[in-house]
Every structure is written in structure tokens, then in C-alpha cells.
Symmetry: D2
């Protein structure tokens, strides 16, 4: 996975699917073209992977994938399905979609077998190395008490970022992303300065009056953090 | 919901999504055109609702929907999403995707608010009336021990169908579908003769060498059961 | 189940288990002896059912039971286990321990096969009749937004109680309990006056400085509501 | 944790609770007294921890513990509860009681805060090091396809044992137990010879006509494996 990363999680907001999602993705793509050094990933609902993938050249991720291969699994989303629809990876174990210990391992394996990337979400730095050792392309650390608050992990709890960066080094593999409360230029810049390979966020962009301008601000923050 | 119903669950089989699903759906549609008196519903993976809906005029259902409205729900499939993608309803509580007692109620409500139909799956006749009272468009009874066996509920356990038909009458609302092991003309015919408003199945069609011919056989069975 | 009911859920508070639970249960029993017309039920953690049952003659309930019979079910609590330990019933589907649609049916059945009572918790009046039809001894309605707030369902949302009372009548079987925010004499009295067969609560007693006095107050409220 | 270990999981069998569990535990204790060099652990249902702990001096484990501290957690089993009841540890994430990725971390932490031991169950050797890094006292590897079959992991899939032993060494902490299909002297002996610190089993003892003799056979197998 190319880095630094700006990972935008569309969640299930009103503008996360259908025509609004396509329009939003095009806006993000236009901004991202001016930041070729940064890997902008968008995570969209399963129903919209196919349509968004056809509309933009940004890497499109699923928000969840089930730990099963093709078969009798009603209502499940498989790695094969999202690959076929145009996704290049998936989130796993998001705080709003937790999965089992064994399921993290199996989901990473299923994604890998389709040559897809995996971003495993965890709620504490102690889980960074275990997730990386399971083969995750990247681990996204998000202290749950800060998600959606606008109070950023990088400015409020820099020690979480620092210790997570140390953990990913200890694992000897994988990238380290941070999230929770990432809202502006400073939050993004600080995260990168502390050693993270990227940031993840949702509401800051999805609920912005002008999402394109917000994405530009965050990308400038990441770039500034890199070049310091 | 118009009835009698033939509900085909694509599950997560290899041919359930992408181009294969579109091709399969077109084949089913061509057969269904000769059975305008029967409501042929196809239940496809979330990733393929949009594409399949655009390709055929058959009613397309989701296989699962989460009991939430739009919002911060990573990895969730909302009624709004599937409606936007072209679905006209969803399965709820399939044996491979069980949900909570309260979630059945909330999912039916969310679907209803999007003017979508709901087919609640249950494993025993005692749950038929409760599910119907929650407002389900239809209840699909499937004894779990027969699912995928090819041993049909209608021929092996007709008492389940009969008591379920009585239960739906007692509830005073909703249709009653039966499933589990429905494989051929006789299984379908017998189900309708016993009073069911339709049948649900998956592997008999999805794993058939010639799915179109199998669908035709099942539709003829349903028609025969109606006209008896 | 004898009624009116005062159902006290010990949850997993510090005083819910061990010696503190036995001491608390004895205090409650001493008060309850003066209210022989009211059925005081205490719901204790699985680890303490045996010890509390031996210490008091109040009916002791489990807080949860799994929908399985004896067998290879590591970590599960069966109806047979709690019966053997001295319980006379169990809560099912508490808002902090939700279970599946089918599991409610199976748990009620398992409890019934051990001649144990079942109190199914639901979050809305639409679920009262379905739960009662599954054979629950009683249904406990608790609007989740009021649980633990001290703002009582009976005083804030009397329409929930009234419609739930109507629903239980419609089902033609089972008792109707209400809960969420029940804290004092008036909350208990009002609940009974509105037609409920009892009230359920937890923190009002478990966190009281003097639990015995609080139980006395609630029992007097119930009695007053009955005799109005 | 002292080793080698013979861990006997009572599951929810008919003889797992109540008087039968006490009697069985006493029988096991009498045999274990002749094998002071082996750590015999019994894992009992939550309802019986207290009674069994008082009856024997063997270390008693819970079969599951929830990842929460004391509080408003109806139906949950906390580390504080089982410690108070006399347990000295708990299984976590048994294949019949899987928990989330974050929950494994939190459960180990909760147990540790009560000075209790933790045995994390996993289904593959890739999860051994991650579980050990979370601080588990021991990791129990059980290929799910062999559980309850009587076909032992040590004789059928020795490579799983060998690679798991390597993984625990890589983690640099924790013991490595193996399970699934362990039935007799040879299975136990072979497991130890391959480098495991102990074996876990259930049905071989719980369903034995003469459990005491079966325990003796297994303990002799372990001893033989050690002294080779």
C-alpha cells in the first residue's frame, strides 16, 4: 500500500451511496489529483462499490467483508464479490462492525487470496502488532471514546500514536494509520509528524458543507507533516 | 406482494454476483415471462443489487438489511441503500444471517418506511404469527435441518407447512412461504397444495446444470398446485 | 406467576454477587415479608444463583439463559443448570444481552421444559404480543432510551405502558411488566395504575445507600397502585 | 501457570454442573493426587464454580468471561465474579463461544487485573503469537474440524502442533496447549513429545464410562511424553 494514506470512510451517511456517493467521489478525485504523493482511499457501502469504482480511479475499499469463501452464505459479503465489483481492499473490524478474533485472521486471508488490501481497525495500541502479524496491509488505531467527537487522537492522545508506531515497527510489517476525531489540517499534520503512515476519518468529510475543500485541507496537513 | 411466489436466493455462490448473476437473472426472467401469474423474486448479494436491477424487470431483493437508518454505521446495509439501488424488498433473519428479536421488528419498520417488502425467515411454525404481527410482508418457514439437503419440507414434513398456514391465518396478515430442500416439480406443487403462498429455495437453482430449465420445472409445479 | 411483581435485576454491579449479594438478598427478603401480596423476584448473576437460592426463600431468577439443551456448549448457561442451582426462572433478551428472534422462542421452550418461568424483555410495545405468543410467562417492556436514567417510563411515557397493556390483552396470555427509569414510590404506583402487572428495575435498588428502604418504598408504591 | 497441563473442559454436559460435577471433580482430584508433577485444571459452568471450588483443591476455571468490569451488564460474567467464586482462571474464545478481536484483549486484561490466568483458544497456529502477545497465560490451539471427533490433532496433524510450538517461542511468552480429538494415552503423550506444554479435552473424559480411569490414562500419557 502506497503511503501516506488519507482514508475516507463513507459509513452509511445519506451521501454515502447512490448518485450522491458518485458525485462526492468525483469531487474528492479532483482534489486528490493535486496530491499524487498521497494515497487517497475511499471506503463505500457494498451496494455502491461497483458504481463508484467505475466512476473514479481512486482506490475503492469495502467497509466490511465476511470471513467466508463463496458458498451458502446468505447476506454475506465475500472478498470475491468486492474484488469483482472493483474494490481494491476492505476495512475489517471497524468499531461499528466488530468481528471475532479468528474472523480477523480469516478475513485478511480471504482478502489476500483475492490480492486485495486489508485495513484492520483496532481500539488500542496493544492490538497493533497482533493485527499486523496476521498479515494486514495496514492497522488503523482508533480510541473509541474519540470517534466522531472532533477531538483528535493526534492532539489529545499523542502517546497512543507514538506507542502504536512503535508496535508496528515491532511487528516488522504493515502500515500504521490513526483515526478518531481527525478534523483539520493540524490533526492530520500532527499524526504524520508522530510517525503514522496515514489518517482515517469519516464525519469531518462526510458532514462537511464543502467536502472537497475539507479534503484539500487534510491533504495539505498530511503533506506538511511529511515534509517537516 | 403478489402471489404465488417463487423466491430464489442466490446466497453467496460463485454465480451469485457480477456478470454471472446478470446472465443468470436474464435467463430466469426469460422463463418467468411465460408464468405471468407467478411472482418470481430473486435475492442477490448487496454488491449486485444495482447491476441486476438495471438488467432485468424481475423484483430484486436484498438478502439482508441492517436495522438502522442512515448514519454512522460502517459496513451496514440500510433500507435506504437497497431502495436506491433498485431493490423492492429484502430477506430478514435468514438462517445463515440471524438477527435479534428487536432487530426483526426494526428491520421490517425500516423497510416499510422505504415502501419495501420484507420476507422474515423463521425456523419453526411458532414464529410465523409473531413475525407476521411485526408487519412482515411474508414469512418464510424453513426447518433448518432440511436446508440444502434436497429433502423437501413439503414432502417430508407436511405438518410444518399445514400448521404454518394456520398460523398465518391466525395472525390475520401476511403471506406464508415455505422452504428447505425444495428441489423439484413435486416439492413445489405439494407446497402450494398444502396452502403455502409460495416457495423459497437456493441450491436447487444456483447449482443446477441448467438453471433455466430448473426454474421452469418449479414454476410448472407451482402452477399445477394452484390449479388443482 | 403471581402478581403484582417487583422484579429486581442485580445486573453485574459490585454488590450483585458473592457475600454482598447474599446480604442484600436477605435485606430484601426481610422487607418483602411485610408484602406477602407482592411477588418480589431477584435476578442474580449465574455464579451466585446457587448461593443466593440457598440463603433466601424469594424466587431467584437468572439474568440470561442460552437457547440450548445439555451438551457440547462451552460457556453456555442452560435451563437445566439454573434449575439445578435453585432458580425459578430467567430473564431473556435483556437490552444488555439481546438474543436472536429464534433464540427467544427456543429459550422460552427450554425454560418451560424445566418448569421455569420466563420474562422476555422487549424495547417496544409492538413486541409484547409476539413475545407473549411464544409462551413467555411475562413480558417486560423497557424503552431503551430511559434505562438507567431515573426518568420513569410510567411518568414520562404512560402511552407505552397503556399500549403494552392492550397488547398483552390482545395476546390473551402472559403478564405485562414495565421498566426503565423506575426509581420511586410514584413511578411504581403509576405503573400499576396504568394496568401493568408489575415493574422491573435495577440501579434504583442496587445503587441505593439503603436498598432495604428503597425496596420498601417501591413495594408501598405498588400496593398503593393496586388498591386505588 | 505450572506445566505440563491437563485441561478438562466440562462444557455443558449433563454431568458438568450440580452434584454430578462435584462428584466428578472429586474423582478427578483423587487421580490427580498421584500426578503432582502435572497441573490438572477443570473448566466448569459459571453456576458451579463456587460449589466445585469449595469441594476440591484442583484449580477451577470458568469456561468464558465477558470483557467488562463490574457495572450495568445484565447476564454478563465478570472476572471479579469468578474470582470471588473461587476460580483461578478462565477459557477465552472457545470455538463454541467465540468473542471479538478486541474482546480477547480486554478479557485477558480483566482477568489479569484479578490475578487470574487466561487460556485463549484459537483455531489456527497463525493466531498463537497474537494471542500470546496479548498477555494470555496460555494459548490452546484446536483445529475446529477435529473437535469432538476422537481423531487427535497430535496424531493426525502433528505439523499444527509443531508450528504452534514455534509460534509460542516466537512470541517469547505464554504456554502452548493443544486440543481437538485428544482421547487416549498416545494422543496425550504425542502432544507433549511434539513440544506442547499440555493438552485440552472434553468429551473423552465427560462421556467416559469411567472418567477417573480415563483421566489416569491421559495423565500417564503426559508423564510418558515428558520423560521421553
Amino acid at each position: 500500500m502506497k503511503w501516506p494514506v488519507l482514508l475516507i470512510n463513507y459509513k452509511a451517511y445519506d451521501n454515502s451511496y447512490g448518485k450522491k456517493a458518485v458525485e462526492l467521489s468525483k469531487q474528492i478525485e479532483r482534489v486528490a489529483e493535486h496530491f499524487q504523493d498521497i494515497n487517497v482511499i475511499i471506503c463505500v457501502p457494498a451496494v455502491s462499490i461497483s458504481e463508484v469504482s467505475r466512476s473514479v480511479s481512486l482506490p475503492v475499499f469495502a467497509q466490511h467483508v465476511d470471513p467466508v469463501a463463496a458458498g451458502a452464505h446468505t447476506g454475506h459479503i465475500t472478498a470475491g464479490m468486492i474484488a469483482d465489483a472493483g474494490a481494491s481492499g476492505s476495512l475489517i473490524n471497524h468499531s461499528e462492525m466488530r468481528v471475532g478474533f479468528d474472523e480477523v485472521a480469516e478475513s485478511v486471508k480471504q482478502l489476500s487470496s483475492e490480492r486485495l488490501e486489508s485495513v484492520v481497525c483496532v481500539d488500542r495500541n496493544e492490538l497493533v502488532a497482533p493485527a499486523a502479524m496476521l498479515g494486514a496491509t495496514a492497522v488503523l488505531v482508533e480510541p473509541p471514546e474519540l470517534i466522531g467527537t472532533g477531538i483528535s487522537v493526534s492532539n489529545t492522545r499523542p502517546e497512543v500514536v507514538i506507542s502504536s508506531v512503535n508496535e508496528i515497527k515491532r511487528a516488522g510489517r504493515g502500515l500504521l494509520l490513526v483515526g478518531a476525531g481527525i478534523t483539520n489540517y493540524d490533526d492530520a499534520k500532527k499524526s504524520i509528524e508522530l510517525g503514522a503512515n496515514g489518517v482515517g476519518l469519516a464525519s469531518a468529510v462526510m458532514k462537511a458543507e464543502d467536502p472537497a475543500t475539507k479534503v484539500k485541507e487534510l491533504l495539505e496537513g498530511i503533506r506538511s507533516g511529511m515534509h517537516k
